[in-house]
C-alpha cells in the first residue's frame, strides 16, 4: 500500500523541517511512503526548509488558505496513486507517531475517513478552543447529521475510495467541517481515533482564532442554504 502524507504549510519555517523529519520511516501495512508539503504562499523560509527534507514540495504562488493547500495535497496524492492519504498540520502540534493509529482502520478496511480527535484527551488545549470546537461540532452535526467530537482536527486519514468520492471546495478552515459534511453525504464510513496533541507556545499562536469560528459558521450556513456543500 502507498501512503501519502499531506502537510499544508504557511510560514512554518521554524518548525517544518522538524515535523517532516519526525515522520516514521516505517509504518505497518505500508510499502511506499511519500510526503507532500504544500507551501501555501509562505513569506518566510518554509520552502527552503522543505527542500532540505525528503518531502515533495508543491507551491501555491499566493496564500490561498489551509483548506486550499490541503485539497492541493490530496489532489497530488490522487495523482501519485496513493492508497491512503493522511493530512497533518505543519505547526508541530501533531505527534507523527499517531500516523500508524489513524491509518490502521483504513488498512483493516473498517473506515474511509479517520478523524484524529484531540478532544478525547484534551489536556493542554485552552478552554476557549474547547468551547469553540464544541460549537463548530454542533454546527457540523446540524448540517450533516453526523456527530464527531473534533471536526476541526487537521489530522485525518482518507482511503482511496474517500479520495475519489469527496468533492471539497472550501479554501479556509471551514474545509474541516466540509470534509465531515461531504463524507457523511457520500455515505463514507467515518471513524474517530484519539490522538496526542503537542501544545507549544508556537502551535497555540498558530491555531484558529475565536473570531474565525464565527466566520466559519456563517460560511457553512450560507453554503448549506445555497447547496454548495
Amino acid at each position: 500500500m502507498k501512503l501519502a502524507i499531506v502537510i499544508p504549510v504557511f510560514n512554518e519555517g521554524k518548525v517544518i523541517k522538524g515535523v517532516i523529519d519526525s515522520i516514521p520511516k516505517k509504518i505497518k501495512g505500508i510499502d511506499k511512503l511519500v510526503i507532500i508539503a504544500v507551501n501555501d504562499g509562505s513569506t518566510d523560509n518554509s520552502a527552503k526548509e522543505i527542500t532540505k527534507t525528503k518531502a515533495l514540495l508543491l507551491s501555491h504562488t499566493a496564500n490561498m488558505g489551509a483548506g486550499a493547500a490541503t485539497i492541493t495535497g490530496l489532489e497530488a496524492a490522487k495523482k501519485l496513486k496513493a492508497d491512503i492519504a493522511v493530512t497533518l498540520d505543519g505547526d508541530g502540534q501533531h505527534d507523527c507517531q499517531d500516523i500508524q493509529k489513524v491509518v490502521n482502520p483504513i488498512i483493516d478496511k473498517k473506515a474511509d475517513v479517520v478523524v484524529g480527535t484531540r478532544l478525547k484527551n484534551p489536556e493542554g488545549m485552552p478552554i476557549y478552543k474547547r468551547v469553540g470546537n464544541i460549537g463548530l461540532n454542533a454546527i457540523t452535526f446540524l448540517l450533516s447529521g453526523k456527530w464527531a467530537s473534533d471536526t476541526q482536527s487537521g489530522f485525518k486519514a482518507f482511503s482511496k475510495t474517500a479520495l475519489s468520492a469527496l468533492s471539497l471546495n472550501n479554501s479556509g478552515y471551514e474545509f474541516c467541517s466540509e470534509t465531515i459534511i461531504n463524507a457523511s453525504k457520500k455515505r463514507l464510513k467515518i471513524v474517530e481515533i484519539p490522538i496526542k496533541v503537542i501544545y507549544s507556545g508556537y502551535s497555540k499562536k498558530k491555531g484558529q482564532s475565536v473570531f474565525n469560528g464565527i466566520n466559519i459558521i456563517a460560511k457553512l450556513v450560507y453554503q448549506k442554504i445555497t447547496k454548495h456543500i
Partner: protein, 122 residues
Amino acid sequence: MIIIAQAFASIFAILVVSRSLVDYKQKKESLQMTLFWVVIWISVLALAFFPGLVDQIITNSGGDRTGLGTIFGMGLVFMLFVSYRIYVKANRIEKNLDKLSREFSLFPLTKPRKRTKKKKAS
C-alpha cells in the same frame, strides 16, 4: 421591533468587525481599512440603538422627516442586494483562483504528453 433590529445590527457588526480584525492581525488589511469598518459599524449600531438620532439630525438641519424611513428602507434593501452580488462574485473569483493556483502547483506532477510526429504529406 426595535429590539429585533438591534439584535440584527449587533450580529452583523460582530461578524464584520471580527473579520476585519482577523484580516488586520494577519496583515491582509491595512490599519486604515480596519478602522474604517470599525467606525462604520459602530455608527450602524448607534443608529440601531438610537434611531431618533437620524430624525433629530434631519429636522435640525431643516429637513422634513416624513418618509425618511421609507428612503432608508429602500437604501437598505439596495445595499443588501449589492452586498449579495459582491459576495457571490468574490466567491466565484476565489474558487477560480483556487483552481488556477492548484493546477499550477500540481503541474510538476502531470506526465508530459508524448509528442507525435506529424506525417509529412507526400
